[in-house]
Symmetry: C2
Subunit: 468 residues, 2 copies
């Protein structure tokens, strides 16, 4: 029996796709630089996944797990061809334990749906990547996704208690468990989280939950400079406030959103940055924290402070942030979106670096992001046909990464390396660390069949058939 | 040049100990079942550690890193002899960054000293193992230590941003960084945390800090049954309260403490369990949360609720908890201390299991612990000379572990496996997972020189010269 017939015998012929449209669709993600799959396989459950993987391992066929396909670094792109294992059918929440505060879910549940389900019983799963209406929780696990609430609540890895996963050699394993405390053997759970689908295929996820904060307050403060906005952040931390969300949007972004929404302005004249701040918790806490936030922003020189008094007003304040990614397209349709991160105290220096890049490389670089975490999305905007601007952008991105590392930061806080940033891995990690990671990879995947060409700088993304 | 002369050339002869007292002292930990070191080496810094480790690797000499020596499972015991690498001289806090909220410390800083240092500048490092006045932060990293505050704040791993470490092959590596968000390559940081000194020797630790909660309230509630106390816990979580500490102490423990302190009773007659509850945060929050705690405990049938109105009263409420370990010695000087953990909702069943063990095996088993995490310290008390009772205790501990796993729990929530629990590893982990962990071990330590005989069930603790 040939390889394809073997796969069909496992999952059923109806769940093996070879039409051009499927191969193309399962061959790209939000990075929009893809490579068509050779075969798309849609298994029903863990056992089918294990059987397909064993077959791939025997035949040395690359296998690439795929959830929502919303990643920004090509993590689910089959850059070396082979099988794309679409987890589409593993889309059920298996259990919500209201007393012990955890949920068990399959990987292809949409993150926002999981949040809605637990919130209906008064519980809360905090991580909130911007794509939460489309991304799969399994993809969040693969990339260790963040989001606005990370400053108070941490990132995905902090909420994962245990996993079921299929190893590249076909074994089904369980790591971690259903408790926060567990020190039995190595912490494979949090090694697999963030490994971008290169160590194991996650087939079941146990997430920790907490009681849903009953009340929230949302504020928007406008500032005459980025430095003043960062001063507001420092001031509110100094006042012992830990906001659930703490977002900064710079003036260039604001102008783009205003243009996109066809309004004159979204903030008072002279606004160079806004902070969006949300505090949550018991009502008595929220009242006090909101007052301290206002105080901190005023002390830092805010020109205007708005506080939502209804859910509609709250949504209106968040609108600027939500429309951002789409709005930037009014500048130009193509952006190189970098999710760099620096220690919070270095953010003013990071913005100085961006100003230098704008000037030296003649680029448009709107910035926004999770300022409490030091995680700023630096969007280098380029004309899709402007090869000169693209070359300048690539030159600038290397300087951006080097500058970020000089500020004690990291070249990726949320999106991972995938294949898009693989060539920059050596900027941040020494050869000894990269070699150690490769040995860990081989401990999981001796034949290198699982999601090859990712993370490590040996792929050749430039040669991909589907160019950006 | 011989091996010892080689070590002396690296660290200086004065920092190499071979006297019987040193070999013995560096050969035991709080488990009190040791094995003398062949050589105690006290390096000055990371470079000396790397040089010593390279030499050990060349000569295939086991090397065992050691911090405070307060572990309960023999993690720092040189069960196969060789070099004990005492980190005593790496005892400085290198940096506290008040703006970016992190600290960088050497591994042998006492955890409590680190907490005091950051609290002096208004910051907070939450993890608080019971031994915090004696244990080293490096040991906390090795064992992923917990403590009472874990319910609200998580365990050590949640507070570690980055590490410098020496690999068993002698390379000096840096993992993670100085930001919460970092998804560049595999998360080696949190793989090394909890690896019990078997993957790498941690030489520098970057910990995350938060603003110190300005106010706290401490309450003690007494209950007529363990079930009622657990009902109080469920009730306060249902009221959206997340206490900083949430400790349960059972009646047997209370009696022991009363006897130790030479008082008639520490609680109203008929008390079968007490809860110690501490809430912290902004003052407006703490007031509201404390009221909800009282409400929840009263609704669950508490017979008495006390609230500390001064620091002296707070210390008095905590006294029972603090005197516990020492007090249990009034029952008998030897205890088998098990740090099992179950999902919070299964705690009543866990206590039913303990009652069965007490009866079926005729044992004294006082229990206390971190009830919010489901992490209960089950202390099986045995006479040091009573071999029959010890045999019954060992039989019971296997039933305890199996029962814990049947309740979806874990056999160790805080203390790790070391060599003491290695033979039970296979109860919780499947052979496939253990094999995977061994491959990860080999990826770090191809010659198996780093802390051999730990975690994996191939050592022979029964044959150790220093018996309990």
């Amino acid at each position: 029996m040939g390889f394809v017939a073997g796969v069909e015998a496992i999952v059923g012929a109806g769940y093996v796709k070879r039409d051009a449209e499927s191969l193309e669709r399962y061959g790209t993600d939000a990075l929009k630089r893809g490579h068509p799959a050779d075969l798309v396989v849609l298994p029903a459950d863990t056992r089918e996944i294990a059987a397909v993987v064993r077959l791939c391992n025997e035949h040395r066929v690359p296998v690439v797990p795929r959830g929502g396909g919303t990643g920004y670094t090509g993590g689910s792109v089959p850059v070396e061809g082979g099988v794309v294992l679409g987890l589409d059918r593993l889309n059920r929440i298996l259990r919500i334990d209201e007393e012990s505060l955890f949920a068990v879910t399959q990987p292809n549940v949409i993150t926002g749906d999981l949040q809605d389900a637990v919130e209906r019983v008064g519980l809360f799963y905090p991580p909130d990547p911007a794509s939460l209406k489309e991304c799969a929780i399994g993809g969040n696990v693969a990339e260790n996704s963040g989001g606005p609430r990370a400053f108070k609540y941490g990132v995905t890895t902090h909420w994962i208690l245990g996993l079921e996963a299929v190893l590249p050699t076909g074994e089904i394993v369980r790591t971690g468990g259903k408790t926060v405390k567990n020190v039995v053997g190595y912490d494979l759970t949090h090694l697999i989280v963030g490994s971008e689908g290169t160590l194991a295929i996650v087939t079941e996820i146990t997430v920790r939950l907490i009681p849903k904060p009953p009340v929230q307050a949302t504020l928007r403060a406008t500032f005459p400079s980025v430095e003043a906005a960062v001063g507001g952040v420092t001031g509110l931390i100094g006042r012992r406030v830990i906001p659930a969300a703490l977002e900064l949007v710079d003036g260039t972004c604001l102008d783009a959103v205003a243009k996109y929404l066809n309004v004159t302005s979204l903030a008072p004249p002279g606004t160079a940055a806004i902070l969006l701040i949300e505090v949550d918790g018991l009502s008595e806490l929220v009242t006090g924290e909101a007052a301290r936030v206002e105080e901190a922003c005023r002390a830092a020189g805010a020109s205007e402070i708005l506080r939502a008094t209804s859910e509609a007003e709250r949504q209106e304040l968040w609108r600027v942030r939500r429309e951002l990614s789409t709005s930037l397209k009014v500048i130009t349709p193509l952006k190189y979106n970098h999710d760099i991160v620096v220690p919070k105290g270095r953010i003013p220096e990071l913005f100085q670096l961006v100003e230098r890049l704008k000037r030296d490389y003649r680029l448009r670089i709107p910035c926004f992001g999770h300022v409490g975490d030091g995680n700023i999305h630096v969007n280098i905007m380029v004309g899709p046909e402007d090869l000169d601007e693209q070359a300048r952008a690539h030159a600038a991105e290397r300087v951006l990464f080097e500058g970020t590392l000089a500020l004690e930061g990291s070249i990726s806080g949320e999106h991972g390396i995938g294949f898009a940033k693989a060539k920059y891995l050596g900027l941040e990690l020494t050869p000894d660390v990269i070699e150690l990671m490769k040995r860990v990879k081989r401990a999981f995947d001796p034949n290198g069949i699982l999601n090859p060409g990712k993370i490590f700088p040996n792929g050749d993304p430039g040669a991909l058939p589907i160019a950006d």
